[in-house]
Each structure stands twice: as C-alpha cells, then as structure tokens.
C-alpha cells in the first residue's frame, strides 16, 4: 500500500507538480535565527523516537527504552534518542551539589566537586555502549519485530571525561593489591559494579561528564558517569558518586543475580562483562517495506568490545554466500562501525544477514553456533547473526534460521 503511493506525485505529462508549482518555502520568508536557542528535529521526524517494548518490564522506572536504529545514520547516536536503562528511575541532579569520592586501598580518600573534575586533563573518545541484555529476548526464538527492539539497547557517543586512573593516582591507590574497582551511583538504586583494574590502568575507563559535545543527558547519568569501553552498559555507572579500590570483586546484585549468563549445565557465568563482536543490518530491517525492486544500499552497524572491527560480510541468501561490505572510516576501537553493501533487489524473497569479525580474529557466530555452546537461556550476551527475511511484497520480517 505504502509502496504504491510513492512517486505518483509526478504527473504523466509536463512533470511533477512539486517542481512545476513552486512550493511556499521558495516564495516566502522563513523563520528567524535562534527561534530555538536549543533546536529540535523536524516535525516530519516524529516517528523517530526511543520506545519501550510492550510487556517487557512491569514498571517504567525499572525498564528500558530502545534506540530507533532503523532510522539512524553513521555511528553517532543523537543524545535525545540514546537508549535508556534505569533500575530506579532517572534524575536531573544539580551538578553544583554532586560529589565524587575515591576510597578503599588508597593513601588518602578523596572528594572531588564537578568544578574540580572538569579542570583535570580530559580525553574525548567515541565508544559504543550496549546493554548486556541487548537481543536477550531472542535467545530462544523470534520475539520482537524490528531492529529497534532486537538491537536497540545500543548507542554510540563521543564521551569526554577524565581517565579514572588519574583520580586513582591522585588518591595514591595501591595498584598492586588493588586489582578491582567498585563504581557506585548516587541515585536510588546506587548501582554498583566491579570494574577490572587492567582496563582502568590502560587509561580507557573514563569518569565522563561530556557526551556528543554537551553534558551527559539526565537519562544517561548527568552530571557524571563511568565509561567502560567494550563492557556492557550496566557497568557504565550513572550519577557516579564513588569509586573504591579493592582486592576482590564485589558480587553486586547485577553481578550475582542479574547479568549472569545461565549455561546449559545450570551454572551461571559470573562477571561476563565484555560485549563480543556483533553486527546488525539496519536497512532494510524488520517491520519495513521496500518501496520497489531495484537498487538498495544494505547498511548496518558492527562493533566489538575487544577492539576494532576488521571486516563485515553480508549475505542476501541466508548465509550460503557472503560478500565483504565497505567499512566507513574512521574505524575506532570499541566503537560502532557503519558498513554498507550495494544490492539490487530482484523482487524475490531474500534473507539478509551480516557477520562481523574483529581485530582479534573473532567471527560473529550463527544462532546454531552460539546455542551449541550456550543453550537458549542465557538472557545476556546474545551476539548471534541476525536474519531479515525480505518477502515478495517488500515486507521485511525478523526470522531465525533452523
């Protein structure tokens, strides 16, 4: 239905009335500068919203909203569309009253104001953040229709902040005994997670206040959050109020009861923090309808918690044959990478997949390969190859292959 209407604006004879009759905006005076001191998207973009998945959670404060990956370009996620995951709701905290404490195995416990943190040497880095439960609904079977819901607990931003190691050094942390760091939030849930000292020492872990050029959004932890590149989002503690250096991991609620991966033998894997290499085609993707046969640019996102994406292959025949996609530069470590591949759709059914590899040589698995090791009950860390079925009607459906 949608397909039929498109293009018909062109009259058969003299031409398209959208050209022949000059539009209002060609013949009038538009709006003033700084109509909005902080601007908004076009009204025609109203469909591009983050959304909850109906029935997924029982409260809206311990819940998730998904980023509309099907409508995004490039690698930066607009901050207004960044996915949300809250355990006890979000807050808009007065930054002048916010404090960061550093304690534990340190020479002297320290307190920092935001003013002080923002005076320290900072770095700005592009990184993806993915919830460990992203794609979790799909472990057993297809459960949701679009890539917003299958993969939308994923976003990517330019983060600005102070390397955590700087603060630990200022406090005189014992970096030999202190092999773990606890990060703790200041909100109601006061989320805690154990952070690997190896990552901290590398300088990669940031105490961040900036996101995409401005301050973090309240939903993302304003005024301070931990950035733990390559690691699942739950470790990126929001409203960060404290870090503690210790010699053992903390077994926090989200390290002992959630974000543990149930294996077929009934054991749980604990401290599974890393997001392994993964990819998804966002155009075309589930719930969309192609308008026409002909040329398309298949495009999507690839990422790895272990470093850089090295290659992405795309199949349009359900995985029998693959072609290497173009990767958009710059390919950055622990960051989304946009890939694309030319495709001429002949109007016949097709099954579109992408498969990413990272610089460690890791290759993204099929559902069959993943389930053979981890079963279907893990909830977390589902990085299987996603399949989209393009039907003859042009409609695209989320499918899993047997």
């Amino acid at each position: 239905a949608a397909a039929g209407a498109v293009g018909s604006a062109r009259a058969q004879s003299a031409g398209d009335r959208n050209i022949l009759e000059l539009p209002e905006h060609s013949k009038g005076l538009g709006q003033a500068v700084a109509t909005d001191g902080y601007g908004k998207p076009s009204k025609y973009e109203a469909n591009v919203q983050r959304r909850q998945s109906p029935g997924l959670t029982q409260t809206r404060q311990a819940s998730v909203s998904f980023a509309p990956l099907q409508s995004l370009f490039g690698i930066v996620t607009p901050s207004g569309l960044h996915f949300e995951r809250h355990h006890q709701g979000w807050w808009d905290i007065d930054p002048s009253k916010h404090r960061l404490m550093v304690n534990g195995l340190v020479k002297s416990a320290k307190v920092f104001t935001m003013d002080e943190l923002m005076r320290l040497p900072s770095v700005s880095r592009f990184h993806f953040i993915e919830c460990g439960a992203n794609t979790g609904m799909e472990w057993g079977n297809v459960a949701v229709p679009t890539c917003q819901y299958t993969h939308g607990m994923l976003s990517c931003s330019e983060f600005t902040g102070v390397p955590l190691i700087t603060l630990l050094e200022m406090a005189g942390a014992d970096l030999n005994k202190g092999r773990f760091v606890l990060a703790e939030g200041g909100d109601g849930s006061s989320m805690t997670r154990t952070i690997p000292m190896d990552l901290v020492r590398s300088g990669e872990v940031l105490v961040a206040y900036g996101q995409n050029g401005e301050m973090l959004r309240p939903e993302n932890g304003y005024p301070l959050r931990l950035v733990v590149p390559g690691v699942q989002g739950v470790s990126w503690i929001k409203y960060l109020r404290r870090v503690e250096v210790g010699d053992q991991p903390w077994g926090a609620k989200d390290e002992a009861v959630h974000y543990v991966d149930l294996m077929p033998d009934g054991t749980h894997r604990q401290y599974t923090s890393l997001q392994e290499c993964k990819s998804v085609v966002t155009t075309p993707s589930g719930g969309q309808v192609l308008l026409d046969k002909g040329f398309y640019s298949i495009t999507g996102l690839a990422w790895s918690g272990r470093g850089k994406v090295r290659q992405v292959d795309v199949s349009v025949d359900g995985g029998r044959n693959w072609r290497a996609a173009r990767l958009q530069e710059p390919v950055m470590s622990k960051c989304l990478t946009r890939f694309s591949l030319d495709w001429v759709w002949d109007g016949k059914p097709a099954i579109i997949q992408s498969r990413a590899r990272d610089e460690t040589g890791y290759v993204q698995p099929t559902y069959r390969q993943l389930r053979a090791v981890r079963g279907t009950r893990s909830i977390y860390h589902n990085n299987a190859i996603q399949s989209w079925l393009v039907e003859e009607s042009g409609e695209v459906k989320n499918v899993q292959l047997g």
Binding site: A2, A3, E45, N47, R51, P54, Q58, M101, N103, K110, V111, E116, L120, V142, P145, T146, Y149, E169, M170, A171, F180, E184, G188, S190, T192, P196, D198, L199, G230, P249, W250, G251, K253, A256, V257, G266, T267, Q270, Y271, T272, G287, Q288, L290, G305, D313, G319, N321, W322, I351, R355, R357, Y362, Q364, P365, R374, T376, N398, V399, Q400, G402
Partner: protein, 233 residues
C-alpha cells in the same frame, strides 16, 4: 600525585567516607555489625516489602519472584537443580543468589524501591533473615548477625553455582580464559547451511508492538509496515 594537580580535590573526612561507603563484599568486608531475627523480618517485610513482592516473595506483578524453586538438596550441594531444567518456569532471586552479601547489600542500598536507604541496619538483617527463612535456609527462630552470616553463606542453595572460567572479563584479574567459547565460521562461498526459516512472529503478534508504520521515518528507502489488522481505522 595530587601535587601534579594543585588545587584539585581534597581529602575525604572519615564521616564522609562512612556516609557513602556502604558496600558489602562477598567476604563480608564492609558489613556493619548488627543483627535481626526472622520474626522482626517478617514484620518489616509485611510493612515495607510485601506490597510489591507479595507476602511470600512470590509476586510476579512487580518483578521476578524473589523466593521459590530451591530445595533442601540444593542447600546441601550448593547447586540449584532446577536451573538445569529448561522447562522450569522462571528463576527466582534465591535460585541464583551465590553470595549472601549481595542480598544484604542490595536491600540496604536500594530497597524499598521507592524509599531506598530508609532501612536501619537491624531491619536489613531482619528482612534478609526472613527471606532466608522463606527459602528454608534458616529456621523460623533464627537471628542473622554479622557473626553468623558467614555460616549461613555456607547454606545458600546456589553458592556453588557460579563460574568465572570464561573469556568475557576484560582483564586477567579473575583468571578466566582468553579463548572465546564460541566462534563463527568465516566461510564466504557455498557455505554448508540450509537457510530454512525456523522461527518468526505469529500473525496474531503482528501489531503487538504498535503500528510499525508509525515507527519508521516517512521518507527513505522504505516505509514501516502497516501492522494494524485489516479493516482497522
């Protein structure tokens, strides 16, 4: 090191550290002294927890049931047998919980959900004791305290249910493996797969996430599918 950055940061006072350093570790480092009985815990529970979690921690309406699914045999072995059953419906907190500190720490920091950090130390001990009693880990006349909590830990049904022998901790601290457990195939041509659709959404779920036409941009290479039932407005 602080000398490198004159004027930035200051030493925390001990009162400040006390106010915020509330975490409790699996070895009970950080656990404040105190105690609470199952009976006192039942009272706390019914006053402050049951409205959301159900009188017996069985509620599905707010979150996972907290208690249930564990057996005396599990307490012996320290492994919850039901976790091996793919057909077992749902997993309660108690089924998964490997470390008692986790429960104490979480209740202390985050519960009641709408009034976190409102419980006294005694109330946290007590309500933890009550939940342990609901799961038959401790008897009804038990009083949980900082002195006996390590022994109770030794009765947790799933205390031996965890493993960190995997490649998904980014560091050497936990002595996991470095080799990933799963790997894909790099085959590029005529790969040995049969692309047969094994799972897709049933037609009745077509509109379960709302009309997808309204969840896609109105311009571009494609539109969102109109998923309203035929004939709907």
């Amino acid at each position: 090191q602080a000398a490198k950055f004159p004027g930035i940061g200051r030493d925390a006072t001990s009162a400040e550290v006390k106010a915020w350093d509330i975490d409790v570790r699996p070895d009970f480092h950080g656990l404040p002294p105190g105690s609470g009985s199952v009976a006192r815990g039942q009272q706390v529970w019914e006053d402050k927890c049951a409205s959301c979690h159900g009188v017996f921690g069985e509620s599905n309406s707010v979150f996972n049931p907290l208690v249930g699914g564990t057996t005396r045999a599990d307490i012996e072995k320290g492994r919850v047998a039901n976790l091996q059953r793919p057909d077992y419906p749902g997993r309660t907190t108690m089924m998964k919980l490997p470390t008692l500190s986790t429960l104490w720490d979480y209740i202390n920091r985050a519960m009641p959900w709408n009034q976190p950090k409102s419980l006294s130390v005694e109330e946290v001990y007590a309500v933890t004791a009550y939940m342990l009693n609901l799961a038959d880990v401790v008897p009804a006349d038990f009083t949980l305290s900082d002195r006996n909590i390590a022994q109770v830990q030794q009765r947790l049904p799933n205390r031996n249910g965890m493993s960190s022998a995997h490649a998904m901790w980014p560091g050497k601290e936990l002595r996991g493996t470095v080799k990933p457990d799963v790997t894909g195939s790099a085959c590029m041509k005529d790969c040995a797969v049969e692309p047969r659709v094994a799972s897709l959404l049933p037609p009745h779920a077509r509109n379960a996430h709302g009309n997808l036409a309204e969840q896609n941009r109105g311009v571009g290479p494609q539109r969102g599918a109109d998923t309203r039932a035929a004939g709907a407005a």
